[in-house]
Structure formats: C-alpha cells, structure tokens
Amino acid sequence: MRRVTLILRDDVDPYLPIEAEAISPEIFSKRIDVSVYVGNERKRITDVFDIRVDGEAAGPAATEIILVGDCHQVKRVGEYMTNGKIIVEGNVGMHCGDFMAGGTIEIGGNAGDWLGREMLGGSIICHGNAGNYCGSGYRGGRKGVRGGEILVEGNVGDYCAECLFGGLVHVKGNAGIHAGSNMKGGKLLIEGDCLMPCGDMFAGEATVYGHVTDFLPTFREIGKVTESGHHLTVFQGDVAHRNAKGTLRVGSFDRI
C-alpha cells in the first residue's frame, strides 16, 4: 500500500490555475516525479506541493493520494482514474474525476465545476457543495455520465447531471436550474429543491424530494407514490420529445 500526501505549498499563487491531471493513482503508483502546468508554465509537482510518500507501490488499487490545503485552483484531479483512492481534505478545483472509470474520490470541502464529467464508473463523495455541471457531459455532447455514483452532501450549481446516460447522481442539498436536462438514462436524486429540472428528458429516472420552481409544462402526470416518507407526484416526459420515456417524481411544484 502506498500513501502519497500532497501538501499545497504556501507560496503558490491561489489565482493561477494548476492543470494536475497527473494526480491519479495510475501515475502515482509508478512515479511521483511528474509535471503540472501552473498558468502557462510547465513545472515539477514538487514546486507546487510538498510530498510525503509512505509505503511501497503495488499497483493503482493499492495507492491512496491525499491532498492537503485549499486546492480550489487545482484542476483535473483524478482524471481518467480507474482504481485506488483520492482523498481531498479541503476544496478541489474544476474537472475533478473527469472520465473516471473506477476507484473512489472523497472531497472534504467543496468541489468546483464539472465534478465527475463523463464519468464511466467508480464513486465520488463530496461532503461540501459542488459547482455547475456536476455529473454532466461535455458542452454539446450527447452522452454524459455513463456509470458510477456521485454523492454531493451539500448543494450543486446549475446543469447538474445534464445528459445523464447511466449511473447515479445523488444531491442531498438543493440544485440550481436545469438539473437533469437532456437525461437519457441513469438516476438523479435531489433531496432538496431545484429549478426547472429535466427539460428535453428522453429516458431515465429523476426524483426531487423538495420543491420544484418553474416546473415545465411538458410533463404528463401519471400518478402518486410514497418513497422514504416523501409523498411524490409522478410525471412522464419530456413530451416535447418524441417517444419520451423519462420519469420525473417531485415533492411539490409550481408551474412556470
């Protein structure tokens, strides 16, 4: 088991983005001496982080990476990871867990935008809030998250789970506008409130326990259900789309 602890150095400019796709168990199980882009300059990772390594490498599955400090500008942590574990003690920047296919990312603070974009598998747990496009696809793309699980214990921004194709996106707080728009599969669960969800939904299951503001008129009511103590109204849609098979269940709503 190898444990790599990365402590963000105090002299790092908090306003310069750091492109750190190299921070992933695959790479760290082989070597630590990688480079990252800070702004438009290529630097060694030791210029950005103080690094402590414990234990011997035995493949990505037995590699754990711990990020210490406010890493809100450190982007693409865990991109393409397939195994192992990343623990972020503070905040993390944009695109954390992009294209992730396996393993676990646990974020103690807040996550930036695009958390788990186009994820294929594995799991992400964010104890704080997540930004916009949490668990979504690429802008304009057809297929978003295809598998895996994302759990956000706080709130998420706009366009959460856009183009969701498979897997589960679970938000314990509130979501912004257009959660689950263009959904084509998978499950979306928002325990709090949200605004205008699931526009142009094709398929999949979305549930909002709280209140939906500006509920779209293009959903057809098909019944009522009780789940985990929440009384929900069940809709099918989005009927603006031909042969729509999506299910949207909401606690309460007011129409647009």
Partner: protein, 566 residues
C-alpha cells in the same frame, strides 16, 4: 523569391500535358518560360506536380458555418493542435476554426476556395472569416434564391431589370457569382411550406422555380459573369427527387462557349429514387446520362463519407425535415427578403442503409459521367463529409479494389439498390487533376485569371505530391494514393511557399475575387426608386449601410469588372 522546380512529373490538363517530366520556372509569383536567375532550386524528384487545388463548393466562412460552431462545441474536441512556429493553435473537425480550415486545405495542396452560399445581408461576417483564412484565395457565391426584387422582375418578364438588381447586389456585397439554393424555397419556408419541384408557381409572386431558374440564368449571362449560375436544385434529399433534377437540367440552355451555363452542385443529394425511405435507391444512372447529353451542365459530386459531420445549407425546410428524422440539435435562420438557412449535426453510418446508398451514389456519379470536366470532386464540405476526406475519395475513384473492399463493409442490402459494384472504371491521374483543379478553374471562369494550370503567365499555384506516378499502380496501392494526396511535399501559392510537408510556412496570402458588372447608367440600381423603397419599408438596415466596404473587409481585393449586355 523565384523558384525552379526541377524534375517534376507535370499533369496539367488545361495545357494538355498529361504526365511529362519537366522543369517549372517561377518568377514574381507567376510561371514563366525563361529560367530566372538567382532562383531557389527545388528537386521534385519525379513527383506528381499539379496546379494548386481549387474547391468549387465548400462551406468554410460565414454565419451558417459559425452557427455550426456555436451549436457543436463538442466538435472542437477533435482536431486540436497547439501553436507551432508560424502556425496558430487550431481545433475542430467538421467545422474547424478558420485557420484550421486554411492549414488543412494548404497541406492538401488547395490554394483557392469557393464559399458556396453567402446570404447577402451577412456578407460582412463571411468576408471577415475569409480575412482570417490566410492561405487561400476566396470567392464567395451570393444567394439570390429568395430575393424579392429579382423574383418580381423575373415574374414580370423583365430580365434586364433582374440582371441589374443582381449586378447591384453582387457589387455591394463583393460576391463572385450567383447561387440559387432551392429556388423560391426560402420564400415558401417563411410560410412554413416548401416548393414542390419546379413547375408549381408560388403564391403572391405567381412565379415557378423553373421560370425563376431560367430567368436568372439568362440574367447571369447578360452580366458576363465569369461563373455560371450555381444551382442547388429543389427537393434536396427527398426520395424520388431525381426526376426534379433531370427536369431542372432540361431547363438549361447553352448560352456560353467557354464554360457551362449551369453548375449543379452536390448532385449526390439530388439523385435519389424510390417513393420513401423504405424503397430508397440510387438513380445516378439517369442523372449521369442527362449530364452526358448536356455539355452546358457541370455538376459536382457532393460525396458522402461515413462519420460525424455537420450539415448546413440555405435550404431551411430540408434541414427541418432532417431534424425531424434525427431529433437532435437544429438551428434555423431567416434572412429577411433574401434567403433562409438551417444547420444540424449528423453522423453517416455504414450500418445505415440510406447512408450506404448515399455513399454509393456520389461515387457512381463520378464514374458514370463520361467527361471529368463535367463532374467535379466535392463533398459539399462539411455536408457530405469534411474536406479532409478528399484523399479517400480520390483513392476510391482510382481503385476498383478499394471500392469493393469498402463496399463489403456497408449495409448488406445496399447491393440491390445501387449500381456501384458493376462499375469498373478507374480514374487516371489526369482525370483526378481535372476533377480537383482544372475543371474547377474552367467552371468558375478562373482560367483567364491564371488559375488551374501551369502554362506561362499562370499564377504560380503549385502542389507537389509525394508520389511518383510512373512507379505506382493506383488500383492496388490505393493506401499510398490516399496518404500522398493528404499531404503535399510542397504547396506554393502565387510564388510563395505556403507549406512544406507538415509545416505551414506563410501567412496573409489570401485575396478575395469579386465581380462588379459594368452596367449602363439607366440600369444603375443604386438610384432605383423601387429598390430604395424596399430598403426603407422592409429591411432592418439602411441602403447606404448595406454595401460592404472594400478597404475594410477585404484583405486584398481583386475586383473583376465584367462587360454586360444590358
């Protein structure tokens, strides 16, 4: 810089040179007979040397293209290349950045591009994008398919007035030629309808597409324009539309001795049989036969290649039909009093029967039209495929073996709907040279401008491909053909080396050719009360703000004044 290109295997169909080892002398941007002194010597080593490529129908600049970019940010994930020495960063596949277009065309040996459709009202945007397409000369065809003034003039039988209106507008928007996209379709589309082939008159104007096409062809010839009417026929993409295409070709008189009288573009999309998608089939044979019978008609293929792309056209209703088929993204645009447009992304799949038939039809047209000067190589970039697929199309046309191999991978039922497997013809290097540069130069009236050939006095647009025609059998070594047509050894434009292997070596070499027909005073429409009233009442822009400023919007303006017969 002057150049001597030694030992070049020259194919120059306009000067009737079909594969001779020669030396080419370049001095002051032009090809000369005399050996220049102090010139840089380049050894072509017996490699295929052609005039610079000319694309006679492509969509690379303008609002439609840019809207494709807005709609498909995911397209920019492909084709990314970082900045290199002398090259900007580029991205995009079917609708790349303007520099991406320019670099890729340059590497394929292309030095002249024709934007196939520009809405006159949006000319500024088109010219601005051409300004940033640094390595090719640009020509812009201007849309007249729904021009109220011209429609009224043709309906009342006043062809001279129609010609005068076309002349005024071409001059105002710095256009090169006249494009008709689904003639009169845009007007009907503003009522949510479309025209049905060419015979039925549209309401309010009491004018049929057939009358309009004939009127505009006549007006075009009156103005003495270098290019003929550039026609995208009615009913594009509908099963059974080949009768409409043949009917349209039947309308075309033979009015010009130097070139065709009508240029029918992307005919692959217009050669469909059947009554619906279930019995959809190829009707390339009757269409090609009609082209063979009518020398006044030139067509281009509009070949479809499998993969992802973006379709864009001024044919608004057709794009709406496509949207209803695909249920994906769609954009639609109405250009006041002038034209319309639509954009949707598509994926052409081998496993799809209709797509496989479309792929076959384009190739069939190129193989069945006997005279290569009458059928030019295009994909209607990016509608059929992005232009980077041209080398593959050349490979398919030159090799029956390659066609058969590809045919084995398409939808199994295709064989019963097309004639492609029965065609044995394999095109030669000379025919390919005609279909990619010489034919275009003739069709666009550019031979007099020194384009499309390598005779003395011609502009030194030269492409040297890394292939020795004497030592290769294209019908078997098609992989090599594809590889070498994808990237030249040298591309030269007007005597400037713009690319060498995969390196871009120049910038700011682009010029814009445009036509200003010289009409007599009584036909000067800038003072015409009816046109002024049209602007005052209906346009959102004032007439005095309409014209494109030549100095500001055109990098290097190449004005062509034509003599008219008004």
């Amino acid at each position: 810089m002057d150049y001597i290109i030694n030992n070049a295997y020259v194919v120059d169909p306009i000067n009737k040179i079909s594969g001779e080892i020669r030396d080419i002398f370049v001095s002051n941007g032009r090809i000369t007979d005399e050996e220049p002194k102090g010139a840089e010597v380049i050894d072509a080593g017996g490699c295929l040397t052609l005039p610079g490529g000319i694309d006679s129908h492509t969509h690379i600049c303008g609002t439609k293209v840019n809207f494709g970019r807005y709609m498909s940010p995911e397209d920019m994930r492909a084709g990314r290349a970082p900045r290199r020495k002398g090259m900007r960063a580029v991205s995009g596949y079917s609708i790349p950045t303007t520099y991406g277009n320019s670099y890729r065309y340059a590497l394929m040996g292309y030095t002249t591009l024709t934007e196939g459709a520009m809405a006159p009202l949006e000319a500024r945007h088109t010219h601005e994008e051409f300004k940033h397409t640094p390595l090719q000369d640009g020509l812009v065809l201007t849309l007249f398919d729904g021009d109220w003034g011209v429609m009224r003039a043709v309906a009342s039988g006043d062809i001279k007035r129609a010609a005068a209106l076309i002349a005024w507008r071409l001059d105002a928007v710095k256009g090169y030629g006249v494009k008709l996209t689904n003639p009169l379709g845009a007007e009907m589309w503003s009522w949510g309808k479309n025209v049905e082939c060419i015979r039925k008159p549209i309401p309010d104007f009491d004018l049929s597409p057939a009358e309009y096409i004939k009127g505009v062809i006549e007006a075009n010839e009156m103005l003495g324009l270098p290019h003929s009417v550039h026609l995208h026929c009615n009913n594009l993409g509908k099963p059974g539309n080949y009768t409409c295409t043949i009917g349209t070709m039947g309308l075309v008189p033979d009015l010009n001795t130097k070139r065709q009288t009508a240029y029918l573009t992307h005919v692959q999309f217009h050669a469909y049989g059947g009554t619906g998608w279930n019995d959809f089939c190829s009707k390339s044979e009757p269409v090609a036969n009609m082209v063979n019978l009518r020398p006044q008609v030139t067509i281009d293929m509009g070949q479809v290649m499998f993969g992802r792309t973006t379709t864009m056209t001024a044919d608004g209703p057709m794009e709406f039909n496509l949207y209803r088929l695909h249920q994906d993204k769609w954009s639609n645009h109405d250009v006041e009093l002038e034209t319309a447009s639509g954009v949707i992304p598509v994926i052409y799949r081998r496993k799809n029967l209709v797509n496989s038939i479309m792929w076959s039809i384009g190739l069939e047209l190129a193989l069945l039209v006997k005279n290569p000067w009458q059928c030019l190589l295009t994909t209607d970039n990016p509608n059929g495929a992005p232009f980077v697929k041209y080398p593959e199309i050349i490979g398919l046309l030159m090799s029956k073996e390659y066609r058969d191999r590809e045919f084995a991978t398409v939808h199994a039922k295709t064989a019963s709907r097309v004639v492609l497997p029965a065609l044995d013809r394999e095109l030669t290097f000379e025919e390919i040279a005609v279909m990619t540069r010489a034919g275009q130069a003739r069709a666009l009236g550019l031979i007099e401008r020194g384009k499309g050939h390598l005779g003395p006095g011609a502009e030194a647009d030269i492409a040297v491909y890394p292939i020795k025609p004497e030592k290769i059998d294209p019908s078997r070594q098609y992989a090599e053909i594809i590889r070498s047509f994808a990237q030249t050894k040298y591309t030269m434009k007007l005597g400037v080396m713009i690319s060498k292997d995969d390196q871009i070596l120049a910038d700011n070499q682009n010029r814009t050719f445009w036509c200003s027909p010289q009409v007599p005073k009584e036909y000067d429409m800038s003072k015409d009360p009816e046109l002024i009233r049209t602007f005052d009442r209906y346009y959102t822009i004032r007439m005095e703000n309409y014209a494109v400023d030549e100095d500001y919007y055109l990098t290097k303006s190449m004005k062509i004044e034509t003599e008219t017969m008004l």
